[in-house]
Amino acid sequence: MINYQVKELAYYPGCTLKNGAAELEKSFLFVCDALDFHLEELPKWNCCGTVFSLQQDVLVYHLASVRNLIRAKEASKKAIVAPCSICYNTLKQVLDFLRNNPDSLNKINEFMFEEKTKFSLGDVDVLDVIGFFRDVIGYERFVKSAKHRLNGMRIAVYYGCLHSRPRNAASCEIEMPNAIEQLLGQLDAICTEYPMKNECCGSYLRVKDPTIPLERVRRIVKSASLNGAELIATLCPLCYDNIKNLQKRLEREGSGFKILPVVYLSQILAMCLGAPKEIYNPKSEPVPAFSS
């Protein structure tokens, strides 16, 4: 467990939660409030940079993330909680890059001379939902506060890439992660073990060639289905959109593809904690057990 006071944590929504992924934001904040973790939104946050730049010789791509870390330091926060997997991974990798390259941090601070606050290592950490739920809130608190149980709901947790890889940003097991299953199991869900749970969904390759994520989604959903899942729970808003919308295309192919409902993990947890219907199932889609 990591001991943070609630006021030491900043909620970093990122652009996607404020646009396409409102369900994720609403359900995540409901979960926090229900467990008495009333997070304050990071003041004046900006885009995280979307993808971590792997070019070692150019620092400019890291500035967006560093600015967010500076905002957190200015607000006297010790950690940023980023429910979006992509934001989390980008912020965390930038932080780790700076840790390993202190000279680069000096250069970045010099370059951003108009920022009144200089970022230094150890000021701010970055947490994802797994780390936040497991290490800060603690699974016990979820179980104690649960108003509804999952009554044997067969859930395939889909982690995507960015919570278990790369190693320096992993908040759960790198191969065959099990961190969320441990929580959902205590809430009486039956979690599906399947080999695709942290394989790439095809991500932004959808812009270049939609057939690649289409094929990835087919395999992920098929694998979850074959292993008995009736529902997929994702963490990442990009995985969510890929799986949810490309499944419709796969069904139209007419090759007998069976659609599985997709929800965010925090929607399931919000349901357990007594959220109203517009939070855990805003579009009133047929989702098993959610209807009862």
Binding site: Q55, S164, S203, Y204, L205, P237, L238
Partner: protein, 123 residues
Amino acid sequence: MSLRENIEKISGVNLRSCYQCGTCSSGCPIIEMMDVPPSKVVYRLQKSDSSILESNTIWLCAACFTCDTRCPRGLRISAIMEAARALILRRNIDHIKPETIKPEAYSELPPITLIAAFRKYTG
């Protein structure tokens, strides 16, 4: 500066420490779409073979980091692919052009895919 040195400089990876075990290729989720497997990209970059920059592999790697976590030599293959892309993008040759994306795609695609794609495919 040779191609190998250039890639090593941009990626921060020592290409010569790869001993061609093929673990990266065996675990790559989209290897079947690639014309050259990732381990062979590394091999050809070790030899400074510039024809590898014409391969589709470097554009298909979406940095899922599976190979990076499994490489027994600790190479960051995702960074090598990014360095290869950078060599092309830094010559101001974009891999995708906004104007070629169909208008209906803009309404269908979540904005985050577009931003990520433009970050990875344009200079």
